[in-house]
């Protein structure tokens, strides 16, 4: 874990150098997110569990991109299938529009 972070730190330095005077704008840059489903293998991605899937859609009902949620490619695919199935069964909204 620490090794990865060190590695990341190095990269972060480069970027920060490039950013120059933007003053701490890249504060969250160095946080490596770990795919939740890789971390806890007991949690299964299932369209029948809208509670779980809700954390992978925005308030507007759109899917959260990998770069935000930190999911790995494999699990992001599974999430996207599950979300689409849950939308079909009206367990998740397709879109949350304005009034």
């Amino acid at each position: 874990m620490s090794r990865i972070e060190d590695d990341l730190d190095d990269k972060g330095d480069d970027r920060r150098g490039g950013k120059g005077g933007r003053g701490g704008g890249g504060g969250g840059m160095n946080r490596r997110k770990v795919c939740r489903f890789c971390a806890e293998t007991t949690t299964l991605i299932d369209y029948k569990n809208p509670q779980l899937l809700r954390s992978f859609v925005t308030d507007r009902g759109k899917m959260v991109p990998r770069r935000i949620s930190g999911s790995c490619a494999k699990h992001q695919r599974a999430i996207s299938v599950a979300v689409r199935r849950a939308r079909m069964l009206a367990l998740l909204p397709i879109t949350v529009g304005g009034e």
Partner: protein, 167 residues
């Protein structure tokens, strides 16, 4: 209905499917039972084996379906061969009480004898009884999801303390 068997499956095996269908919220228990009997008849009549029947109760729909805001969810898991899903869905489509249905294939090439069934006579009765209409029923399901576990995924990166410069 003569239908060409899929060559993908090993002979003598079947596929595992699950079907969820949504009924109109004002469907009485009799009506639910009637539809369940029909579905059961189709699956078993075509050589399928039912593994599980479940009534998820009356839930709020995330959006309006067929002018309804709520629906009764029925969940079936069964082993079947090609054509059973088609026939089941054809029948569901004809029923006016069914407002939405979906079938998902879970597994294939499985030996029907090797799968235990959770079904007894009482499960059909239970599946026909819709629990009282409580809005939080919707929230109380999904017990597998530990709430509040994913908070850190939504933190605003900018809100974090800036990392000290190394040079």
């Amino acid at each position: 209905m003569a239908r060409l068997q899929s060559l993908r499956d090993a002979p003598g095996t079947s596929r595992e499917y699950e079907t969820v269908y949504i009924l109109r919220p004002n469907t009485a228990n009799d009506g639910v039972a009637e539809i369940n009997t029909k579905v059961k008849g189709i699956i078993e009549g075509m050589g399928g084996k039912i593994l599980k029947v479940d009534n998820w109760g009356k839930r709020r729909l995330a959006y309006e379906v067929a002018k309804e805001r709520k629906g009764i969810y029925l969940y079936w898991r069964y082993l079947a061969t090609a054509g059973v899903v088609e026939e089941t869905e054809r029948n569901l489509r004809m029923l006016d009480l069914v407002i939405r249905f979906m079938t998902v294939r879970l597994d294939e090439s499985i030996n029907p004898e090797a799968r235990p069934t959770e079904i007894d006579d009482a499960s059909y009765e239970r599946a026909a009884t819709t629990a009282a209409d409580e809005e939080d029923l919707f929230l109380s399901r999904g017990d597998a999801a530990p709430a509040g576990d994913d908070d850190d995924e939504y933190e605003n990166p900018v809100a974090e303390a800036p990392i000290g410069q190394e040079n």
